[in-house]
């Protein structure tokens, strides 16, 4: 259906009008024909029923005597007159008691078995057949019944003949309708086509001054008027449009000019911005350089600080050696030698008889033992001195290799290392009467950068000493504690340096590791900062704890425990 509609849409208006008339009149004719045929079929059937009913009635009336006088032969003869009715295929006469009295079979009906007697009337039965049952009366008495069985096949032929006639009439009517419509439709299609042609001409030539000629006052006439009016409007509108177009072009030109100007400005601005970015790049580079230099300065400060620390110890040792040498008993020995030279001639007598001479051997003995002791002290001090000098050497070497790699990692005894640190500060501990407590969980060996660890330890110990001196207590005590690392599955080792000195104010606890922060009069705020950095570089942490001023402090160095399994 939709396809049909779509196909119709593509047709010309003339074809559409023709199709319209054809469809309308065709539908009407079809409907009429159908009704006609239906009616014809009905009337053919009912006339057949009437015809056969009257045949049955006549037959019945004629058969009364035969029935009355029980003459079946006569009855059969009567029935045989039905051969004039070819539609009757068979017939039967029943006596009043319903018994078969006589039968008749039409041509070609071989096997006929009379049905049992049914009620009076007619019935259409299967096989397109008609049954008629007609009672026969003689006066008021029932004389018998006629039964007819007729075929209605021939009715179809009649119906088809009727249908053919109807179809022929319909075709002729349609033809007339089409002819009439194709003549009449021009009244509608011609003006429409003329309008379409005009519209085509206008769109082809662009000439809007053309007008269509009106021929009728119907809707199409109105359409013509409106079309002409529209053309007038378009003509006028075109003028305006041309003007507007020119204006618009002008405006576009202006705008383009403005835009190109803006574009130029923008590209200038972009160039400017690029230049600024370049400058920024340079400044950034300079800043980086400055930062690097600042870092180097920080390192230099660290080195100087460490070297300074060691130099203190060296100075102490040197002063001690000088003091010892100054107070040496060598002069006493010189005096004894002078006395011996004075009495060189009679040395034996002088030693045995003279008062002073008797005391000489004892004196010499005393001097000798004293010198031996002195030599011992000096040797120790010189050893400490050598160690400190070694430390300075190490610091310098470390500084030289700072950028390249981490320091030398070796397997050392942690206890020995901590003891070394203590020993390096021993003199100052002795000087300020500081009690040192060593609390080691057990001997352990670790893989560590020995010099850096030692440096951290020295820093922590020196700070502790300073805090103890400043705290001013009588029982100054410094505790060094090593925990962890005694078992092979320990992950970390902890070295704690605890003092009961001046302590740290709460507000300073977080700041003490910052570069340049110090609470000491002569400090430069570098020791703890570099120690914390170093600890971090070694993969560990350095933390501080204090309950406040006067409460002492505890510094904890935590390092990853690496026992150096291959060496132990």
């Amino acid at each position: 259906m939709r396809q049909v509609v779509r196909a119709l849409k593509g047709l010309s208006i003339r074809a559409k009008l023709n199709a319209l008339v054809l469809a309308a009149s065709g539908a009407a004719l079809l409907l009429a024909s159908f009704a006609l045929l239906l009616n014809a079929a009905g009337s053919i059937r009912s006339s057949r029923v009437q015809q056969l009913s009257s045949v049955a009635k006549v037959l019945g009336a004629n058969s009364t005597a035969a029935l009355t006088f029980d003459d079946a032969a006569a009855a059969r003869e009567l029935l045989s007159s039905l051969s004039l009715q070819p539609a009757v295929r068979f017939a039967c006469l029943y006596d009043p008691k319903g018994r078969v009295f006589a039968t008749y079979s039409g041509k070609g009906v071989a096997d006929f078995r009379p049905p049992p007697l049914g009620p009076e009337g007619h019935a259409f039965v299967a096989g397109n057949c008609l049954d008629i049952t007609q009672n026969i009366f003689q006066g008021s008495e029932k004389a018998g019944t006629v039964y007819l069985h007729a075929s209605m096949e021939d009715l179809h032929v009649q119906l088809i003949r009727q249908a053919l006639v109807v179809a022929a009439v319909m075709i002729v009517s349609l033809g007339v309708a089409v002819l009439l419509s194709s003549w009449l439709q021009r009244m509608i299609s011609a003006p429409v086509l003329r309008l379409a042609e005009t519209a085509q001409r206008i769109s082809a030539t662009g000439d809007y001054s053309v007008r269509v000629q009106k021929h009728a006052d119907d809707e199409i006439g109105t359409l013509y008027d409106e079309f002409n009016a529209m053309l007038g409007q378009i003509e006028g509108g075109q003028q305006d449009l041309r003007q507007a177009h020119a204006e618009l072009e002008m405006r576009v030109e202006e705008r383009t000019r403005q835009l190109s100007q803006t574009n130029q400005e923008l590209s200038k601005e972009i160039a400017e911005r690029q230049r600024v970015e370049q400058n920024l790049e340079v400044a950034h580079q300079q800043l980086l350089d400055a930062a690097r230099r600042a870092g180097m300065a920080e390192i230099a400060t660290g080195v100087l600080h460490n070297v300074g620390n060691v130099l203190n110890s060296i100075n102490v040792s040197a002063t001690l050696v000088a003091d010892r040498l100054r107070g040496s008993k060598v002069s006493e020995l010189t005096r004894a030698l002078d006395l011996m030279n004075e009495h060189a001639a009679d040395l034996g007598r002088f030693v045995t008889e003279h008062e002073k001479g008797k005391q000489l051997p004892g004196f010499l003995d005393l001097v000798a033992s004293h010198l031996v002791r002195e030599r011992q002290v000096l040797l120790e001090e010189v050893q400490s001195l050598t160690q400190n000098v070694d430390h300075v050497k190490t610091i310098v070497a470390m500084q030289q290799s700072y950028a390249s790699a981490a320091g030398l990692v070796e397997t050392v005894s942690l206890v020995d290392l901590v003891d070394d640190g203590l020993r390096l500060n021993l003199s100052s501990f002795g000087k300020y009467d500081i009690e040192v407590v060593r609390d080691y969980a057990g001997p352990c060996r670790i893989q560590v950068d020995k010099q850096r660890l030692l440096q951290i330890l020295i820093n922590l110990l020196r700070n502790a000493k300073d805090a103890l001196v400043e705290g001013g207590r009588k029982d100054r005590r410094l505790t060094v504690r090593i925990t962890g690392g005694s078992r092979p599955n320990d992950k970390t080792i902890r070295i704690e340096v605890v003092d009961n000195g001046v302590g740290i104010a709460k507000e300073n606890l977080t700041r003490i590791f910052s570069h340049g922060f110090t609470t000491k009069k002569d400090g430069h705020g570098f020791g703890l900062h570099s120690s914390a950095n170093t600890a971090k570089e070694m993969g560990g942490t350095l933390t501080a704890h204090s309950d406040g001023l006067g409460q002492g402090a505890a510094f904890t160095l935590e390092l990853p425990f690496n026992p150096g399994a291959a060496r132990t």
Partner: protein
Amino acid sequence: MQQTRTGVACLLVAAVCLGAALVGAGATKVQAQEDQGSGASREYAIKAAYLYQFSRYVQWPAEAIGGGETPFVIGVVGSDPFGEVLDEIARTKKVEGRPIVVRRLASAADYGPCHIVFVPSSATAAEREAAIRKAHGAPVLLVGEDSGFAQRGGTVNFLVEDNKVRFEINVDAAKQQRLKISSKLLSLAKIVGGP
């Protein structure tokens, strides 16, 4: 059991017969009913019915049939072979609204205004001839049952063919008697002429 039942039936029939013999008057009636199925009685029952039915297919002249409630008369000459059958018909049927009267005629000369006269085979030849003579030219349907009866001047004569009751019609006699016989009836009859 079967035997017992048959025995009872026989006993019953015997009792009825005895009863009928004792009653006497009703004997003929019972006999006729009893013999309804037997050849002779069945034949006369049919013939009685036919006598009545002839009235439907035969038109009598107007003066013979009379007007209004004038009875339709059927006469039987001599000894009546129908028994009660004809009386039964006369009692229950009517001819065009008229009652039927059956008259037993001692001789053919007796009958007056009859519409149908039946001459049974038990009648003597003389009686038959008398009846024919009497009926000649009179509006009466003369019915017999002896071969040659129609040819000699009877209007209708019953025959028995193939165990069926058929009839002959003498159209000449009918014409003389001014009786119009329906073609339907004629089509069923053997048509004879004479004398």
